[in-house]
């Protein structure tokens, strides 16, 4: 299975979509937002807040891109070829999930590094550790949603659906513009999105608070929903294989 993960990671690094949406764009947007005075309030606070937002946005890009890859693999006959090797289907699915989990790391790391090196963000070490862990583990629901789309839709439409979902969730979840700037009706919707809960966990930690129960419950509920969706997509794909 590790050979499979290695192959998939090699492929991800050569994938322009992943590098641009998952790594380059979030870093560029982060630096633009924070250094053109577009972010509100205290400069250091803004650098922290936006750092979490953009790391979350990049992680979403990485997670959804991994899902789009599934549709591409199916169209190329690669999933069938894998079934003709001694790898078990469970190893293939697990390998893809691990790949997704590893693929979000550079996205998160790139923005956090930009925060430290360019915007001189400083936080106590334990806060860094918790933020990194939450940003990383919190991508699982999005990976599952991306995989669900990848299994359910054909190559091109899966990629489109995943990019659209990723952008919608990023904007609606307040990753680009803080929810406080939204009109009240939009803010009311934003508070129910998984992306808002996901980034919210780390926003609270970054400013020395404890995540709210609502954020944890909401993200867990979305995890369940997207998990069921991914399993449904996988079963459907299996029937057509």
């Amino acid at each position: 299975m590790w050979g499979y993960v290695r192959l998939e990671l090699t492929r991800a690094l050569r994938d322009g979509g992943y590098v641009i949406f998952g790594i380059v764009m979030p870093v560029v947007m982060y630096l633009v937002f924070t250094n053109l005075g577009l972010a509100p309030g205290d400069k250091h606070d803004a650098a922290i807040y936006t750092m979490v937002s953009m790391a979350a946005y990049g992680a979403l890009g990485g997670a959804f891109n991994n899902g789009s890859g599934i549709a591409e693999d199916r169209a190329a006959g690669w999933l069938r070829q894998l079934r003709l090797t001694p790898l078990t289907p469970a190893e293939v699915v697990a390998g893809k999930v691990v790949t997704g989990a590893v693929a979000v790391v550079p996205s998160i790391a790139a923005v956090l590094l930009a925060g430290v090196l360019v915007n001189h963000v400083s936080l106590p070490p334990q806060r860094w550790l918790v933020i990194i862990a939450l940003l990383w583990a919190g991508t699982v629901p999005f990976s599952l949603l991306g995989l669900g789309n990848g299994y359910r839709l054909s190559g091109q439409s899966a990629a489109m659906a995943n990019i659209a979902t990723m952008l919608t969730l990023s904007i609606l979840g307040g990753l680009w513009v803080p929810v406080e700037k939204f009109p009240s009706w939009l803010a009311a919707i934003a508070e129910w999105t998984p992306s808002n809960s996901y980034a919210g966990l780390s926003w609270r930690i970054a400013f020395g608070d404890v995540p709210t129960l609502r954020q944890v419950v909401l993200l867990s509920a979305w995890l369940l929903v997207f998990g069921v969706y991914a399993v449904y997509g996988y079963r459907r794909a299996g029937r057509r294989a």
């Binding site: 192959l7 492929r11 190329a76 069938r80 079934r83 003709l84 090797t85 001694p86």
Partner: protein
């Protein structure tokens, strides 16, 4: 070496339907170890579905498939089989070497990479990205994926479809090497000459059933169709009713009669004073194939 002596491939009354179509219909086929078998048939005869059933890619609706006495999926898990589907299987953004290293790594006792590259004649392509290969090059890489794990059974679905004449010849040279190592090889084709030249045994499929099974010589004999032809001269429909004639075709100003008894047909032509520029050609596999599959349609 395994001690079990079960057939390499066994299908027992296997049936697979797609909607109202029986793609594979009560098909029974056993291939002992070490045989090279050609699966021959026109498009839609059920070749690819048969291959999908025996590799465990599709479950049969009824009947049974096994490889080396094991459930096909189990045999594939153990690395006993390697296969090349008719198309696809090349994943973008990796090099030939990366791809083959990965596939080899999933098998318990793969061939060394250099052997595989030589066997598939892709030494010079090792660092090329697989999404930048020509059709023929891609085909050779797909073949390399099927054999790199050194499996006992190699299944190839139309392996030479994208190859030119020279590449086909080289491909079969490589296959002969594998066959001489005792590998069991099953390949599908609609090139009759390939089945004739490279297989120990030819299995002809039509409408999802085995309609002939034997050496190519046996199949030609079973179909026993010699072609008797004479120059067309006026009304010739009556020639189809001559003794032995099974099939008549008029082309190129000649009447071609496929006959099961060429002596009787020629005698009858002589009696009717209809011999004009007579030619008698022995059966070839093409004729046998056409005869077998058209008989099936009647």
């Amino acid at each position: 070496m395994t001690t079990n002596t079960a057939d390499a491939v066994s299908l027992t009354s296997a049936t697979k339907r797609f909607g109202p179509v029986r793609a594979v219909d009560e098909l029974t086929l056993a291939i002992p170890r070490g045989q090279t078998v050609a699966l021959l048939g026109p498009n839609g005869a059920g070749k690819s579905t048969t291959i999908a059933l025996l590799l465990g890619l599709l479950p049969p609706d009824s009947g049974r498939a096994s490889l080396f006495g094991l459930d096909p999926e189990q045999a594939v898990r153990q690395g006993l089989a390697g296969a090349m589907p008719q198309e696809g299987g090349l994943v973008p953004r990796v090099t030939v070497r990366e791809l083959l290293t990965f596939v080899s790594g999933t098998y318990p006792a793969p061939l060394p990479l250099d052997r595989v590259l030589t066997l598939a004649r892709i030494d010079d392509l090792r660092d090329r990205r697989v999404d930048r290969l020509s059709g023929g090059q891609a085909q050779r890489v797909r073949f390399a994926m099927a054999v790199c794990g050194d499996p006992d059974l190699i299944v190839l679905d139309e392996p030479t479809a994208a190859l030119d004449v020279e590449a086909r010849r080289e491909f079969w040279d490589g296959m002969r090497g594998l066959a001489s190592q005792g590998k069991t090889i099953l390949f599908s084709t609609h090139y009759l000459d390939e089945a004739d030249e490279h297989a120990d045994r030819v299995v002809v499929l039509g409408h999802g059933r085995v309609i002939a099974d034997g050496t190519s010589a046996e199949i030609k004999r079973a179909a026993a169709l010699t072609t008797v032809s004479v120059a067309a001269d006026g009304e010739s429909a009556w020639l189809a009713t001559l003794p032995g004639v099974r099939h008549m075709e008029i082309r190129g100003g000649r009447v071609h009669l496929r006959t099961g008894d060429s002596d009787a047909t020629v005698m009858a032509l002589a009696r009717a004073d209809a011999i004009r520029d007579l030619e008698v050609a022995p059966a070839d596999l093409e004729d046998a194939f056409v005869a077998l599959t058209t008989k099936e349609n009647v």
